[in-house]
C-alpha cells in the first residue's frame, strides 16, 4: 500500500508539494497563535526548504518521478524533430510488424504443439531407402498390414496410430448433383482416445471401429466443418454421407480446436482406416504411422532401442512378405529391403513438403529481421547524431551532478518511446500481414486454412522484440552520452572524429545487411522468373480441364460419346480425353522392357490420351503419327524424345516395341514428341510415353475407366465461361459421369509456382524497403557529417582546395564503407544461399548477374544518397563560415 501511494504520488508531485507547504505553514501559524515570537519560531523550525525536500522524497517513489520526467523530456525531444521521428517510427513499425507476422506464420506452421494430450510424446515413423536413381529418399507412408505388424511388435512400449493424409474428396450429402469437396482423413480407432480428445457432440471413432474391413461405416465431422458447413446443426447425427459407392453414418463431432495432424489443412471428415479399400492391400503404402509413447517410457533414452525394435520388426515383415515382390527384379527387392527406420518428433504436427517450407519460411524470417535491423541501425544513427548534438547538454548535466545511470535512462526512455509507438503500429501491421501472406501461399482450389491466434506466445515474442529494439536503438547512444567528459565537451568539443568513426562502421553494417537482403531476393526473383518463363512445349491458352469421375467406371466408348457431345457445343474448338492433366497432381510410372529383356532400372511415366489430344494441347510430332480412334492399349504408343534416347539410344524408335511392367503385350511406337514437363515444372526431363485412351484387357475386352479429364480448347478467351454449360451437359446424359473439378491448364501451370511467386514478391518487397532505408540512412549520415565539418570544409576552400578535393573528402569514406559492407554482405549471402540452393530453379548463387544486380543497386543508391551532401559541401561559403567563427 505504501509503495502504491508513493507511485500514485509520483503522478501528482505538484499537489503533494502544496500539501506539505500547507502543513508547514499551519505549524508556523500555530506557533504564533500560542504566543511565540515569529522569528524565534522560524529559527526553532530550522530550514523549511530542507524539511520540504525531505518530506517530498519520503512520500514519492523517486525513481518513478525521475522516469516520468525522462519520458516527458523524451517525448518533447521526439516532437521537436517531427519528421525524423515519424520516419523512425514508421520504419521501425514496418520492421517489427514484418518480424511479428513472420513469427506468427512460422510458429503456427512449425512450432506450435498440436492441441492433443502428450504432444511431446508423439512421433512419426518414416523410412529411408535408396531411390532408383541412387539418391536416398524418405517416405512416411505405410501399408496397413505393415502397420499392424509394427503395432503388435511394440505394443508394450508404445501405441501406433494410423492417420492418412487429408485428401480433397468428392462427397455427397443429398443427391448426386450436389457433389462437393471435403478434406477426408482415415484414422485408426485409437487416434481420438490416445490424443485425449472428447467429442463436442455424439461419439468419436473408437478402437472397436478397427475390427474388420468394411464393418464400421461411421464418420466423425471436425468441429470446424460442422460449424461452417452445417451451422452447428444438432440434427446432423445419423445423417448419411456418400463417398464413391460407400455410405457412412455421422456419429459425432470432434472437439473444437482439433483440425487434424497436418498444419495448414483443416480436416473435415474422419473415417475409420478399416473402411478404406487399401487397408487390405499388402503393398499399398497409403497412410502415415504415428507413435505415441506409453506412460513411463522416456523420450530420451528409450527411443533408440524402440526404433531398433521397430526396424527389426519391419525387416522381418518385409522379408517374409511373399506376395510383395512378385515379378520384381532382384536389384529392386534388395533396394527395397535396405530400409532404414526413422522417428521424427511430430508434436507440432506435420507440414506437407516440410523441409522446403521450413527453408522458405526461414528466408522470410531472415528478410524481415534484416529490414528490422536496418531500420534499427538507421534510428540508432539518428539518435547518435542527436546525442552528439546534445553533448553540451549532457556535459552540463554531469557537471551539475546527474548520475551516469540517469543519463542512460534518459536516452533509453526516448528509444523505448520510439519502440513502443512502432510496436503498436507494427502489431496492427502484423494483424493484417500474417493472414495476407498465408493467402498468397495458398493454391486457390485448395485453400489452406490455418489458425493464426494472437495469444501469449505472439505477445511474448512481440515484447521480447520490443526490448531488443530498445536496446539496439538506445544502448550505443546512451553509453556514448554517459561517457561524455564534461571538461572536454564544455571546452568546445571532444575528438571530432570519434563519432564519425562510429558512423562509418554503421554505414558498412547497413550496406552489408542491405546487400544480403538484395542478394537473396534477386536469387528468388530470378528463380521464379526462370521457372515461369520455362518453355513448356505445350499450350496453356484457352484450355479448359473438366476432371470427371464415373462412379464404378464406364467403358471407353461411353467416354468417347461424351467427347463427341462436348464437341458439338458451340464455342468448343476441339476436345480430347486424357487420364489426368499434365502438371496435375498425378504421376504414375511403369517399368519398361525392350524385346522381352528384364526391365531397365529407370522407369518411364505414362499418360492415356485419346486421339487429338496432342493437337488440342498443341504438342507437335517430331516424327510418326498421332493415335487414330481405332488404336488400343496395349498395342501402340507415342513416346517423347527422352524416352527414345533412354531405351533406343541411337536408333529410330518408330516401329520399335516395348512392354510395360513385364508380361503385357508389346506396344509399337508410332510417334515421337518433344519433351514436356509431366508432373513438376522443376523436374529434369523425364522419359514419358503416351498410350491410347481405349484400353483392353488380356482377352481384348474393353476396360472400364473410373476417372479421366476432358481437355477442351475453347473459342473464347475465358474458357471457364463454358464450364457450367458443359458440366450440365455431362450430368444430363445420365451415364454416371460427374465433373468433380473444373480448372484450366493455365491455372495448373500457375499453381506450380505457388510457393515461388509469394516468396519472390515478398523478397522483392523486403529488398526494396531495405534499400530505401539504407539509402535514407546513408543520406542522413553524410549530411550530418558535412554539417559537422563545415568549419574544416570552409577553411580548406579558403586556402584553395579544388572542388574535386572537397567531393573526395566528403564521399571517400562513404564509398569505402559501401565497398566494405558489400563484401561482407556478399560473404554472408554466399553462406546463407548454400542452405537454400535446392529451392532455386536454374539459378546459382555464384552467377555473375546475381551479384551484379545487388551491387549495382547499392552503388546507385549510394550515389543518389551522397548527392545532397556533396552539393551542400560545395555550396559552403568559406567567408560566411570564417566570419561566424
Amino acid at each position: 500500500m505504501s509503495l502504491w501511494s508513493r507511485i500514485a504520488n509520483a503522478f501528482q508531485g505538484e499537489r503533494l508539494n502544496r500539501e506539505i507547504e500547507e502543513e508547514l505553514q499551519l505549524h508556523m501559524e500555530e506557533a504564533i497563535a500560542s504566543g511565540r515570537d515569529a522569528g524565534e519560531a522560524r529559527r526553532a523550525f530550522g530550514s523549511s526548504l530542507r524539511v520540504r525536500e525531505a518530506s517530498h522524497s519520503i512520500r514519492v517513489a523517486g525513481w518513478l518521478e525521475g522516469l516520468l520526467a525522462d519520458v516527458h523530456f523524451g517525448w518533447r525531444q521526439l516532437c521537436r524533430n517531427k519528421v525524423t521521428s515519424i520516419a523512425a517510427v514508421l520504419s521501425l513499425a514496418l520492421g517489427i510488424g514484418s518480424c511479428v507476422a513472420a513469427f506468427r506464420l512460422i510458429d503456427a506452421l512449425l512450432w506450435r504443439p498440436l492441441p492433443v494430450a502428450n504432444a511431446d510424446h508423439l512421433y512419426i515413423l518414416a523410412r529411408s531407402m535408396p531411390h532408383f536413381d541412387g539418391k536416398l529418399i524418405e517416405d512416411d507412408h505405410w501399408a496397413t498390414p505393415e502397420f499392424d505388424a509394427l503395432r503388435n511388435a511394440v505394443k508394450d512400449q508404445a501405441d501406433l496410430i494410423a492417420i492418412s493424409e487429408a485428401d480433397r474428396t468428392d462427397v455427397t450429402w443429398t443427391t448426386d448433383e450436389d457433389m462437393e469437396k471435403a478434406n477426408v482423413v482415415y484414422a485408426s480407432g485409437n487416434m481420438f482416445p490416445l490424443f485425449g480428445l472428447e467429442p463436442a457432440f455424439g461419439r468419436l471413432l473408437a478402437p472397436t471401429d478397427d475390427r474388420a474391413p468394411g464393418a464400421s461405416p461411421y464418420a466423425v465431422l471436425s468441429w470446424d466443418y460442422w460449424n461452417h458447413r452445417f451451422g452447428c446443426d444438432p440434427k446432423i447425427l445419423g445423417r448419411p454421407l456418400h463417398i464413391g459407392d460407400q455410405t457412412f453414418e455421422i456419429i459425432g463431432v470432434g472437439p473444437r480446436d482439433f483440425t487434424g495432424t497436418e498444419k495448414g489443412t483443416v480436416t473435415d471428415i474422419f473415417l475409420p482406416v478399416s473402411m478404406n479399400n487399401f487397408a487390405t492391400m499388402e503393398r499399398a503404402a497409403w497412410h502415415r504411422t504415428f507413435l505415441m509413447l506409453k506412460p513411463g517410457v522416456r523420450a530420451g533414452s528409450d527411443l533408440e532401442p524402440l526404433r531398433q525394435h521397430l526396424a527389426a520388426a519391419n525387416h522381418t515383415f518385409q522379408a517374409g512378405c511373399s506376395t510383395c515382390f512378385h515379378g520384381m527384379p532382384q536389384v529392386d527387392i534388395d533396394r527395397y529391403l535396405k530400409q532404414n527406420l526413422i522417428l521424427h518428433s511430430a508434436g507440432a504436427g506435420i507440414l506437407e513438403l516440410q523441409k522446403d517450407y521450413r527453408r522458405f519460411l526461414g528466408i522470410l524470417g531472415l528478410m524481415a529481421a534484416l529490414v528490422l535491423l536496418i531500420a534499427c541501425v538507421n534510428v540508432a544513427n539518428m539518435m547518435t547524431a542527436q546525442a552528439t548534438a546534445r553533448a553540451h547538454e549532457m556535459a552540463l548535466r554531469i557537471s551539475i551532478g546527474a548520475g551516469r545511470s540517469r543519463l542512460i535512462q534518459l536516452i533509453l526512455c526516448q528509444s523505448a518511446l520510439l519502440a513502443l509507438l512502432a510496436s503498436v503500429l507494427g502489431a496492427l501491421f502484423a494483424t493484417w500481414a500474417a493472414p495476407f501472406v498465408l493467402s498468397l501461399i495458398n493454391p486457390p482450389d485448395n485453400p489452406a486454412r490455418l489458425d493464426l491466434p494472437a495469444d501469449w506466445r505472439v505477445l511474448l515474442f512481440g515484447c521480447g522484440l520490443m526490448l531488443l529494439v530498445v536496446l539496439l536503438l538506445g544502448l550505443l547512444p546512451a553509453l556514448r552520452a554517459s561517457a561524455v567528459r564534461p571538461v572536454a565537451a564544455l571546452k568546445g568539443g571532444e575528438d571530432p572524429h570519434s563519432s564519425r568513426r562510429l558512423m562509418r562502421g554503421v554505414i558498412a553494417l547497413q550496406v552489408a545487411f542491405c546487400f544480403l537482403a538484395l542478394f537473396l531476393s534477386s536469387l528468388f526473383v530470378a528463380s521464379f522468373q526462370r521457372l515461369q518463363n520455362r518453355p513448356l512445349g505445350f499450350s496453356t491458352d484457352r484450355l479448359l480441364l473438366l476432371q470427371t469421375v464415373a462412379g464404378k467406371g464406364q467403358l471407353p466408348v461411353v467416354w468417347n460419346q461424351t467427347t463427341e457431345a462436348i464437341r458439338a457445343v458451340p464455342g468448343v474448338e476441339s476436345v480430347a480425353i486424357a487420364s489426368w492433366p499434365l502438371l496435375g497432381r498425378i504421376q504414375i510410372n511403369s517399368e519398361i522392357s525392350v524385346n522381352g529383356a528384364p526391365p531397365s532400372p529407370t522407369p518411364a511415366f505414362f499418360l492415356n490420351v485419346s486421339s487429338g489430344w496432342l493437337s488440342t494441347m498443341k504438342i507437335p510430332l517430331v516424327s510418326g503419327r498421332d493415335f487414330s480412334p481405332q488404336d488400343r492399349s496395349p498395342g501402340v504408343a507415342i513416346v517423347n524424345e527422352t524416352f527414345a534416347r533412354t531405351y533406343f539410344p541411337g536408333q529410330n524408335p518408330i516401329g520399335r516395341s516395348f512392354e510395360r511392367d513385364g508380361g503385357q503385350s508389346p506396344n509399337k511406337i508410332v510417334g515421337v514428341t518433344p519433351d514436356v514437363p509431366y508432373h513438376d515444372l522443376r523436374e529434369p526431363t523425364r522419359a514419358i510415353f503416351y498410350v491410347p485412351f481405349n484400353g483392353v484387357n488380356d482377352k481384348s475386352a474393353p476396360q472400364t475407366v473410373g476417372f479421366a479429364t476432358f481437355v477442351i480448347h475453347t473459342d473464347a478467351q475465358d474458357s471457364l465461361a463454358l464450364a457450367e454449360t458443359l458440366r450440365k451437359l455431362i450430368a444430363q446424359r445420365h451415364n454416371g459421369f460427374r465433373v468433380s473439378n473444373v480448372t484450366t491448364q493455365y491455372d495448373l501451370v500457375r499453381d506450380q509456382t505457388v510457393r515461388e511467386r509469394p516468396i519472390a514478391m515478398l523478397a522483392a518487397f523486403f529488398a526494396a524497403v531495405a534499400l530505401l532505408l539504407a539509402g535514407i540512412g546513408l543520406y542522413a549520415v553524410l549530411n550530418y557529417s558535412v554539417l559537422q565539418r563545415r568549419r574544416e570544409i570552409g577553411i580548406r576552400m579558403a586556402i584553395g582546395s579544388p572542388r574535386a578535393g572537397i567531393v573526395h573528402l566528403v564521399t571517400l569514406d562513404a564509398f569505402l564503407m559501401t565497398a566494405l559492407g558489400g563484401c561482407v554482405g556478399a560473404a554472408l549471402g554466399f553462406g546463407s544461399a548454400r542452405y537454400v540452393e535446392s529451392l532455386f530453379y536454374q539459378v546459382k548463387a555464384t552467377d555473375a548477374d546475381m551479384i551484379a544486380l545487388p551491387a549495382g543497386a547499392i552503388l546507385l543508391t549510394t550515389l543518389i544518397a551522397t548527392l545532397p551532401a556533396v552539393l551542400r559541401a560545395l555550396r559552403t561559403d568559406p567567408t560566411e563560415i570564417l566570419r561566424a567563427e
Binding site: S5, H27, I58
Partner: protein
C-alpha cells in the same frame, strides 16, 4: 544542543506513544505535547518532526487526515494504526533494553 541530541533516534517512539494516548493531533500539537510532557527537556528541531511523521505514515504506522479547523484553515491530523500499535510495543521494549544496558554501564564503570 544537548536538548536535540537527547531526542536522536527516539522521536518515533515519542510520537507513537503520544498518539497512543491522544488521537488526532496535528504536527504542532504533537511537538508541543512532547515538549510539555518532558518538561521542556526533550525538544526537537521542530522542522525535523515533519519528515519523521511522513516517514511513519509511509511505513503505515500512523494515518493522516485533513480536517477543517474552527478558524476555517485545514489541518493534517495524525492517528495511530494497528501496525503502529505493534511498532510502539517493539520500540518500547527496545528502549527498555537499551536504557537498562546504559544504566548498567553507568553503574559499573
Amino acid at each position: 544542543m544537548a536538548k536535540t541530541d537527547a531526542l536522536q533516534g527516539s522521536l518515533d517512539l515519542l510520537v507513537l506513544k503520544l498518539l497512543s494516548r491522544r488521537t488526532r493531533l496535528h504536527g504542532y500539537a504533537i511537538m508541543a505535547a512532547i515538549a510539555s510532557a518532558s518538561g521542556d527537556v526533550l525538544r526537537a528541531e521542530e522542522g525535523s518532526l515533519y519528515p519523521a511523521l511522513h516517514r511513519m505514515e509511509e511505513a503505515g504506522w500512523i494515518r493522516a487526515e485533513w480536517i477543517k479547523k474552527d478558524t476555517g484553515r485545514r489541518a493534517r491530523v495524525y492517528e495511530l494504526t494497528t501496525a503502529g500499535l505493534k511498532q510502539l510495543g517493539a520500540e518500547e521494549s527496545r528502549w527498555e533494553s537499551v536504557s537498562v544496558a546504559i544504566n548498567r554501564v553507568l553503574r559499573e564503570a
